[in-house]
């Protein structure tokens, strides 16, 4: 079933296999290691893989797994900082807030990549993408506009682009 | 008082609240929502019966649980049908808010 992906090119096959294996792994996580369940697991993973290929055609670019992993590993820490940041502001009697919207010009082309970056951004401390302006700049809502938000974001973007294999443009 | 009893009372209250909306809300969408509220309360009655019937090593009597699942399915289908109907009615230009009962003027084919 996986082979029926329309645009599956030869080069993408390994990606497909990886996805299939990832889904199979998820299946194992869901139901446990009992091999009997593979009767359903294999077709299920294949179906999921097919759906995934349909919705998300294989990228025509190489991902830098190590760099991506670095992004992901940073995530819990970022999350913690973000949580602490909010908690500090929320629980402090003075409630130090200087909310506002900052436009941030990104080089990431519109599309899946940019969407993924935005999702990442929304987990960063103090930032929440709320849309794009007419020029295609990202509009970021910040809890504190006095913070060097754009600078941080630029750093994040660079890291992210390394992960997706386009780091040189940073 | 056991939790089951407490939730039973909660179910009775849900029914009463939903019934209130079902009777009084003029808009059909709100009636549909209210109906779902009454339905939820009703399902909870089954849940109470199931919880009270927890014997034989079971956490609850599975028969009413199965019935609730069937009931939820049916209630969803009813909601979807009612919503589709009211949207279609709206498109046809009828007022959605209850007026006096209609006396169709011309029913000839």
């Amino acid at each position: 079933m996986a082979a029926s992906g329309r645009s599956t090119t030869r080069a993408a096959v390994p990606g497909t296999v990886v996805r299939f294996l990832l889904f199979l792994l998820l299946w194992g996580i869901l139901i446990g290691p009992a091999p009997a369940n593979l009767v359903a697991g294999l077709p299920a993973a294949a179906l999921a893989c097919w759906v995934s290929l349909w919705l998300l055609p294989p990228f025509g670019q190489t991902l830098s797994l190590s760099a991506l992993l670095a992004v992901l590993v940073r995530l819990p820490g970022q999350s913690l900082i973000a949580g602490l940041d909010v908690a500090r502001r929320a629980l402090s009697p003075a409630m130090p807030l200087r909310p506002g919207i900052v436009a941030y010009r990104t080089d990431i082309p519109p599309g899946l990549e940019r969407d993924a970056f935005r999702a990442l951004m929304s987990l960063q401390p103090g930032t929440l993408p709320v849309g794009e302006d007419a020029d295609g700049a990202l509009l970021i809502h910040c809890l504190d506009v006095d913070q060097p938000v754009t600078h941080q974001l630029a750093l994040e973007e660079a890291r992210f682009r390394r992960g997706t294999g386009k780091g040189s443009h940073g | 008082m056991t939790p089951a009893t407490l939730y039973g009372l909660c179910a009775a209250a849900l029914v009463a609240i939903g019934l209130f909306g079902l009777i009084l809300h003029p808009s059909p969408l709100r009636k549909v929502i209210s109906f779902n509220l009454v339905g939820s309360g009703t399902f909870l009655f089954f849940g109470v019966a199931a919880r009270r019937g927890a014997v034989a090593g079971f956490l609850g009597d599975p028969v009413p649980q199965a019935m609730v699942i069937t009931g939820i399915v049916v209630a969803f289908a009813a909601t979807a049908l009612a919503v589709a109907l009211l949207l279609r009615m709206l498109e046809s230009g009828a007022p959605t808010v209850d007026g006096p009962p209609e006396q169709p003027d011309d029913l000839s084919p």
């Binding site: - | 019934l19 079902l22 009777i23 009084l24 003029p26 009636k31 209850d98 006096p100 009962p101």
Partner: protein, 540 residues
């Protein structure tokens, strides 16, 4: 299954089949010409099948037809009048629109009315009775004029009311009788000992009395009979009212003496007889006068039956039937004759009017006419008391009314009319002849009295003086200014109710709109649930 039985069955089946055949438009178009054929099997049956019976459907249905003496007598008269009126209609109504429809109603009414004389079980009686009453609606309202429609509405309303009375009465009658569909005889035999005797009797008298036109249930008659086409009026006034008569004959427990009920019936009957005369003489329409006369005569029939019921006199049924037969023929002839008289020019007028005079006075009991026989035969039942006197005096009343009728009749000739068409002349003549002859022929058989006794001087005098009295009164009345009483007299009271009824209907409609509002209806849902819960738990 005997030949008699088949003949009896065919007297109902043939007209019914003719009615069904009208579903085909082609047949329906021609049917008016064949109306006279429909009652012929019944006429034959009346002569050939007396005492016969046939079970149309076996137990537990027990649909049964049987022809006893009273039934045969009335059936014969009715069939004759139906045949004549049918022939009369074919000519009289030629060219009118909607004749096919008329034929359907005619045939259905005919089937029902003949059926009432034949059926022997409870259900079939109700069936025949209903068919006769309800189908007659079509005849009453046939003309479609506002008056006809109004008459039709009033007729329908009261006919349905009567049906309801009768149905409930039957149910009470049947309770305790063997389950299923009892024969009339069985049910009536059980009647006197029934716990529901009195209410059942009351309902039956109300129901049949309504059909006969006993005051105050007579209101429909003066409205309905005149508006129908002439032959239909003849059938309505001559025959259909006899459905009530045969009903009383069949269902009153005449063998058991019920003085209270008998007296009631006599009182109501006699009151009706005089009341109808009193109102009738104020009327200005020929046919309306005749209708009031029918009311009056039916009052007398009721009184006869009442008298019989008081004393459990044997032969009451046959006597009442005899009286009714006479009225049937005479009244039929009178109605048909009105049409003839209207179509007759001065040259032949005398003959027609003369015949009509004889017919009319026969109704009042003019000596040597058949009417005198009818009155003579029923007189002994009343004994010597007040009732007897009043019954005798009623003849005077009839005389007044008939003279009034004749005077009106004199003025109805159509301008330019010449000789009446044979198509209406002969049927009329046939009925008139039968009206004179038939009672004479049947007198001895029906009354068990010697015919000669009725010709004695005493009898002649007894018949004559009321007529003289009536004539004097009539003359006296010419100098009195009579009040104008509308047709149907007390029905105008009901008319006054009409707006109230309309308002009530509107109120119902408003209530419906209110009740059908969502909040109201859904509140009702909750209220009813609570109420039912409380009621259900009340017993525990």
């Amino acid at each position: 299954m005997t030949g008699q039985g088949l003949l009896i069955a065919s007297s109902v089946v043939v007209p019914l089949l003719m009615a069904l055949a009208c579903l085909s438009p082609a047949v329906r178009g021609r049917m008016p010409g064949w109306l006279a054929i429909a009652p012929l099997p019944a006429l034959l049956a009346a002569f050939l099948a007396r005492g016969g019976s046939i079970v149309v459907a076996p137990a537990p249905l027990r649909l049964t037809l049987a022809l006893d003496d009273v039934g045969a007598m009335l059936l014969g008269g009715a069939a004759l009048l139906w045949a004549a009126a049918g022939a009369y209609a074919a000519s009289y109504m030629r060219g009118q629109p909607g004749l096919g429809r008329f034929a359907v109603w005619w045939l259905l009414t005919l089937t029902g009315s003949l059926g009432t004389f034949l059926v022997a079980d409870l259900t079939s009686f109700y069936l025949a009775f209903s068919v006769a009453s309800l189908a007659a609606f079509g005849l009453v309202s046939f003309e479609g004029s506002p008056a006809a429609l109004r008459a039709g509405r009033v007729y329908m309303a009261l006919a349905l009311l009567g049906e309801a009375f009768i149905l409930l009465g039957f149910v009470m009658l049947a309770i305790g009788a063997p389950p299923g569909n009892p024969l009339i005889g069985e049910a009536v035999a059980f009647f006197p000992s029934s716990p529901l005797r009195d209410p059942a009797l009351a309902l039956l008298i109300l129901g049949f009395g309504l059909k006969m036109g006993l005051v105050p249930l007579h209101v429909w008659m003066p409205l309905a009979h005149p508006v129908a086409p002439m032959p239909a009026s003849a059938a309505l006034s001559g025959i259909i009212v006899k459905a009530g008569v045969i009903g009383l004959i069949r269902f009153l427990p005449l063998e058991a003496a019920l003085p209270g009920w008998g007296a009631t019936l006599v009182a109501v009957g006699l009151f009706t007889a005089f009341y109808a005369v009193a109102v009738g003489v104020t009327q200005t329409q020929v046919k309306t006068v005749l209708a009031y006369s029918t009311v009056s005569q039916m009052g007398l029939v009721a009184a006869v039956l009442g008298a019989g019921l008081m004393a459990a006199a044997p032969g009451t049924a046959l006597l009442a039937g005899f009286y009714a037969l006479h009225h049937l023929l005479v009244k039929g002839a009178l109605f048909l004759g009105v049409g003839v008289a209207m179509a007759t020019g001065p040259r032949h007028r005398l003959l027609v009017l003369g015949t009509m005079t004889l017919l009319a006075l026969s109704l009042a009991g003019l000596p040597l006419t058949s009417g005198a026989l009818a009155k003579y035969a029923t007189k002994p039942l009343f004994g010597d008391g007040l009732a007897a006197t009043l019954a005798t005096l009623s003849a005077a009343g009839s005389t007044v009314l008939m003279l009034h009728f004749l005077r009106l009749l004199g003025g109805v000739a159509k301008p330019g009319a010449e000789r009446p068409p044979t198509g209406i002349l002969w049927p009329w003549a046939a009925v008139a002849v039968a009206a004179f002859v038939a009672p004479w022929a049947m007198f001895a058989w029906a009354t068990a009295l010697p015919l000669s006794a009725s010709l004695g001087a005493k009898a002649l005098w007894a018949a004559l003086w009321p007529i003289g009295l009536g004539a004097s009164v009539w003359v006296a009345l010419r100098f009195v200014r009579l009040p104008a009483i509308p047709e149907g007299d007390v029905v105008v009271l009901a008319d006054r109710l009409a707006p109230a009824v309309g308002r009530a209907g509107e109120a119902v409609e408003r209530a419906d709109i209110w009740l059908r509002r969502w909040p109201v209806a859904s509140m009702m849902l909750a209220v009813l649930a609570i109420a039912l819960t409380v009621l259900l738990s009340a017993g525990s």
